[in-house]
């Protein structure tokens, strides 16, 4: 067992605060930093922990914010409204995300897991940083439809929040930066790395069944080009041949880059906990994994920028027999991490 230490030693940070002109000093706040356990076969983290190390108080504040409807204009729709832990923080059974006053979004809520390894966020990569991602759902009219000015006013007027911010952050201020940092401190702890698949990699005594093992072989042959590595995504944006839904006519990644070459491309999603994060695809059009595999086998259409990986054979897509589909699904089910889904630290209640 190799231990690598990310040591941020007892830092004595000196800051200048206008509030203590008289005393010159303010009380020392104890706030333990949290540790994250990451298997050695995981990739390097991308999140900047130095800029925002998760602490006990920051995590608790972030969790409270995550589950608080105050972050929306109607006081009801919290982050947790569409990101439900039992389903790896997706909006179970909902095709697209729901917002305030019954508004409907245009995309399926993505799971929240292993975000510290991701380069960009949302289906089209419109957020380059985890700390900034919540700006999108909070301000989007069809999601939480709230302004940060209002939220900060609400939090400052709240009975509990000013104290919680004071405990969590050096400068103690109830402001947007601290609010987003706190939410990140909650999110960065969400590492899902304890599925059956992981237990096998860790040599913890689990074993694939014959069907799962066969499924893994098929998966590695037919799916792992895009769903690569232990996160089961290469984090690229690709057009996977979905028929264009005229209701949304969602152009995907090109909205972010403005490039015609990115039209209809969406981020390759991680497949961890895929069994319970249905419905599938960026617009939630498929209810089951069998439907997803049917799509890759026989449902694909040629649209602009269809990924070349699907055009290597005479037949479009990835040919799969019914037996092969069943085996792949059996393998995918080994990626479900019950310990993550039931982890009390993240639970609303």
């Amino acid at each position: 067992m190799r231990l690598s230490f990310f040591l941020l030693l007892s830092l004595w940070l000196v800051s200048c605060s206008e509030e203590d002109a008289d005393s010159g000093y303010e009380a020392i706040v104890e706030n333990d930093t949290l540790s994250i356990e990451i298997p050695d076969y995981f990739p390097e983290v991308t999140y900047n922990f130095e800029a925002n190390p998760p602490t006990e108080k920051g995590f608790e504040l972030g969790k409270k914010l995550f589950y608080d409807g105050k972050l929306s204009s109607d006081g009801v729709v919290s982050c947790g409204f569409c990101h439900i832990q039992d389903f790896s923080f997706t909006h179970h059974t909902h095709i697209v995300s729901h917002g305030v006053n019954g508004a409907l979004g245009t995309r399926n809520a993505q799971p929240l897991q292993n975000m510290i390894f991701m380069n960009e966020f949302t289906w089209d990569g419109a957020a380059e940083s985890l700390d900034a991602q919540p700006i999108i759902p909070i301000t989007a009219e069809v999601e939480m439809n709230e302004s940060f000015s209002n939220i900060i006013d609400k939090l400052q007027a709240d009975e509990e929040y000013p104290q919680l911010f004071a405990e969590a952050f050096e400068n103690g201020e109830v402001n947007t930066d601290n609010m987003l940092k706190a939410i990140s401190q909650f999110l960065v702890m969400m590492v899902s790395a304890d599925s059956k698949y992981d237990k096998i990699l860790k040599n913890e005594g689990s074993q694939f069944t014959d069907e799962e093992e066969a499924g893994k072989v098929l998966f590695d042959q037919k799916c792992a080009t895009c769903h690569a590595g232990v996160l089961f995504t290469d984090q690229s944006y690709r057009n996977n041949g979905l028929p264009i839904d005229p209701e949304y006519d969602d152009e995907g990644r090109s909205r972010v880059t403005g490039l015609q070459a990115d039209k209809y491309k969406f981020k390759v999603p991680s497949l961890r906990n895929i069994q319970i994060t249905y419905p599938y695809m960026h617009d939630g059009r498929f209810q089951t994994l069998a439907q997803v595999l049917d799509h890759y086998d026989s449902g694909m259409v040629v649209t602009e920028n269809l990924d070349p990986v699907f055009q290597q054979n005479e037949n479009l897509g990835i040919s799969l027999t019914e037996d092969e589909k069943q085996k792949i699904i059996a393998f995918l089910e080994t990626l479900t991490d019950d310990n993550f889904l039931l982890d009390d630290r993240f639970a609303e209640f």
């Binding site: 000196v14 706040v29 930093t33 419109a126 999108i136």
Partner: protein, 249 residues
């Protein structure tokens, strides 16, 4: 198996006030005002009523807003005084007189010969250095997209009439989009006369707004009147806009 521990000892935070004894005495610092003026042909821009001409069209301006950031004063001796980054994000909004006066506090008193500032938000800093505290100001000024976690650096809207089009709307909303489309610009203006801070505490900065259409690049509204996430045209708009600034200081 590797374990990553983020080990933190008890963190002790000591805060001091800005005017405590170990700091330089306050009389060595002063405030300064950057006075922005948006002009066309030497006259202050009038929104919604005045008609202007570029090379091919006439236009009226309804909205003109831009983000100023990362302000640095450069002293005679070459030393740079960078205004604290977290405090250094502003929206200049033509509709709002007060927004055109940017007041900076606690500037060391010395002779300065140039100023440098950013147009937009430098995403290499993002989201560090407290830039997220700028979110409320940006959203109040409609300088955020709802679908993207980024800022609109320049919002320039109005209507135009060309040889073939009458009273059509135009909208330039320019920002950065990922590493591939970085539209953040820095502008450095040399002072014609050294700014002896203490005796003069105001710098007038003028943007010749017409240069948005005509500077390094020639842009025609008839060719394209809606420039937003556009890898071809948005860099041209920002290049032109960054060349619109001058100072009489």
């Amino acid at each position: 198996m590797k374990k990553w521990w983020l080990l933190f000892m008890v963190l002790g935070f000591v805060a001091c006030s800005e005017d405590s004894d170990d700091q330089a005495s306050p009389q060595e610092f002063t405030g300064i005002t950057l006075q922005f003026q948006n002009q066309i042909e030497g006259e202050n821009v009038v929104l919604n009523s005045e008609t202007y001409m570029n090379s091919e069209e006439t236009y009226e301006i309804e909205t003109l807003r831009y983000i100023i950031s990362n302000i640095v004063l450069i002293a005679e001796n070459g030393e740079e005084f960078a205004y604290p980054q977290a405090e250094s994000y502003f929206v200049v909004n033509e509709e709002n007189e007060a927004s055109k006066s940017i007041t900076l506090e606690n500037i060391p008193i010395q002779n300065y010969e140039a100023i440098r500032f950013g147009l937009g938000v430098d995403q290499s800093n993002y989201p560090l250095n407290g830039v997220n505290n700028f979110v409320p100001t940006a959203e109040e000024n409609n300088m955020l997209w709802s679908w993207s976690a980024g800022y609109i650096f320049l919002r320039f809207e109005g209507n135009y009439t060309s040889a073939t089009e009458t009273d059509r709307l135009f909208a330039y909303h320019i920002g950065s989009h990922g590493q591939a489309l970085d539209n953040y610009k820095e502008v450095t203006l040399d002072f014609q006369n050294t700014l002896a801070l203490g005796s003069s505490n105001s710098i007038e900065i003028t943007s010749d707004v017409s240069k948005i259409f005509e500077a390094e690049f020639s842009l025609s509204l008839e060719d394209i009147d809606d420039i937003q996430v556009d890898p071809q045209y948005s860099p041209q708009v920002m290049a032109n806009f960054s060349q619109s600034f001058s100072t009489q200081q």
